[in-house]
């Protein structure tokens, strides 16, 4: 097992995981949840909630700075949840057993799951970051 093969196995596994994300709608759904919650709390409840915060401007923008850490947390949790679901589905389907009887890099499977978690967290963050800029002209 040389380094080139190990890298190649990781790429193969990554490609497999990406196909899963595309074909398994729940994967996208878990990324969408934090976005929906964010939009809901900023535009539906944001004005009301923000009114209680003492500040120069008060209102929505102040409430948003308050809200973002929680949303980040939700994004991380849903991302890892998705990975956990994907890995446990693999386990029940026996494909991991097949991988384990093959001469492939053991770290490839675990590494890719790890990579996917952070990739999905990242994908969750991208629209949110732009949303932040858009809704927060005050800073």
């Amino acid at each position: 097992m040389n380094a080139a093969h190990r890298a190649q196995d990781s790429v193969t596994m990554l490609r497999r995981q990406l196909v899963h994300i595309v074909r398994y709608p729940i994967a996208l759904f878990t990324i969408g949840i934090p976005v929906i919650i964010l939009l809901l709390f900023v535009y539906a409840f944001g004005g009301t909630m923000g009114a209680g915060i003492a500040g120069v401007s008060g209102g929505r923008a102040d409430y948003l700075t308050y809200l973002v850490p929680e949303i980040l947390m939700i994004a991380v949790v849903t991302g890892s949840q998705m990975t956990a679901i994907a890995v446990s589905m693999d386990m029940t389907e026996g494909i991991i057993v097949r991988f384990r009887t093959m001469s492939i890099s053991r770290s490839a499977v675990a590494l890719v799951s790890f990579a996917i978690t952070w990739l999905s967290v990242g994908m969750g963050l991208v629209p949110r970051a732009s949303r932040l800029r858009a809704t927060c002209p005050c800073r």
Partner: protein, 313 residues
């Protein structure tokens, strides 16, 4: 040259002794079948031989590599099709095979060539581009086998390859097994059914109760017999008088006459019946098959177990 060589293999899960020191050799290019009732330790044996779980004792050589010292080398020469289909349900049949080809580092062109060939060979070409959700149970098992074959393994482990397959699929499976053996591949399989193999071992409660060729195992059980059916009790009575060593069944009005299954003996039986002017309604000839062997070898222990359960109640 032995493809697989096992000495004193032991394994227990906690207090549950699953394998109690088994020894066997599998010659290269042969089919070796492990038979046994449920919970006999068949799957555990496969799991150990395919590096999935460790053993508690004994030495194992697979493809000339020591299992404990060099599991990576063992993995490179084996192919495994387990009891539950190890396929990726989110991919199409073709993508599954390409995944295996990529993991064997064949490169795109060679991978595509092998994939196309296997899809054709296992009769999956029509469904190649369809997602696995549309596959039937038999198609999944065939794809599972195809995924094992992608890497051209020299030694193939099949755990219950024909379980849940219909007669036609079972024949296809055996035809493929025979083709592989003709190419010099060694097949180690477990089964609950008794099918054709070069050598068989009967595993029961972690021990081999018998090992040998199918012909050798058949010799272990009492020989065949002729069953005579009668229309009325008088006929049965008369015939039982003619054949002293026979066993009679008064309920079914049948008589079992021990026989070697030869034509000469059959004619002799009929002649003696004619001489005694006994009217026989029907006749059937029974030679011992592997089912009898299986029942005879594993039945003893089962009965003992049933008695124990009875005593506990």
């Amino acid at each position: 040259m032995n493809a697989i060589s096992v000495r004193g293999l032991r394994k227990s899960f906690g207090d549950d002794l699953v394998l109690d020191g088994i020894d066997f050799d599998v010659a290269e290019g042969t089919v070796y079948a492990l038979l046994g009732p449920n919970r006999a330790g068949k799957t555990t044996t496969i799991q150990i031989l395919t590096t999935l779980i460790g053993s508690d004792g004994g030495s194992v050589q697979v493809g000339g590599h020591d299992l404990a010292r060099d599991p990576e080398a063992v993995r490179s020469v084996i192919g495994v099709t387990g009891q539950f289909s190890a396929v990726d349900t989110w991919l199409t049949g073709e993508e599954n095979l390409m995944l295996m080809a990529d993991l064997r580092h064949f490169g795109k062109t060679e991978g595509r060539r092998r994939t196309a060939e296997l899809l054709e060979r296992l009769d999956l070409a029509d469904a190649a581009k369809q997602p696995l959700a549309t596959y039937s149970g038999g198609m999944r098992r065939r794809l599972d086998l195809a995924m094992t074959l992608v890497g051209d393994p020299r030694i193939i482990f099949l755990d219950e390859p024909t379980a849940g397959l219909d007669l036609r699929s079972r024949r296809t499976m055996w035809a493929i097994v025979r083709e592989l053996v003709a190419d010099g591949v060694t097949i180690f399989l477990t089964t609950q059914y008794l099918e054709e193999a070069d050598r068989l071992a009967v595993l029961d409660h972690g021990r081999f109760v018998a090992e040998g060729t199918p012909a050798e195992l058949k010799r272990l059980v009492p020989g065949g017999h002729i069953v005579l059916e009668f229309g009325e009790a008088d006929g049965l009575e008369a015939a039982a008088g003619v054949f002293a060593e026979s066993a009679r069944d008064d309920e079914a009005l049948t008589l079992q006459v021990p026989s070697d299954g030869g034509v000469r003996h059959l004619r002799e039986v009929l002649d003696r019946l004619d001489a005694a002017t006994v009217r026989v309604e029907g006749l059937s000839l029974h030679t011992p098959d592997l089912d009898d062997v299986f029942l005879a070898l594993t039945g003893q222990v089962d009965r003992a177990g049933a008695d124990r359960e009875q005593a506990l109640r």
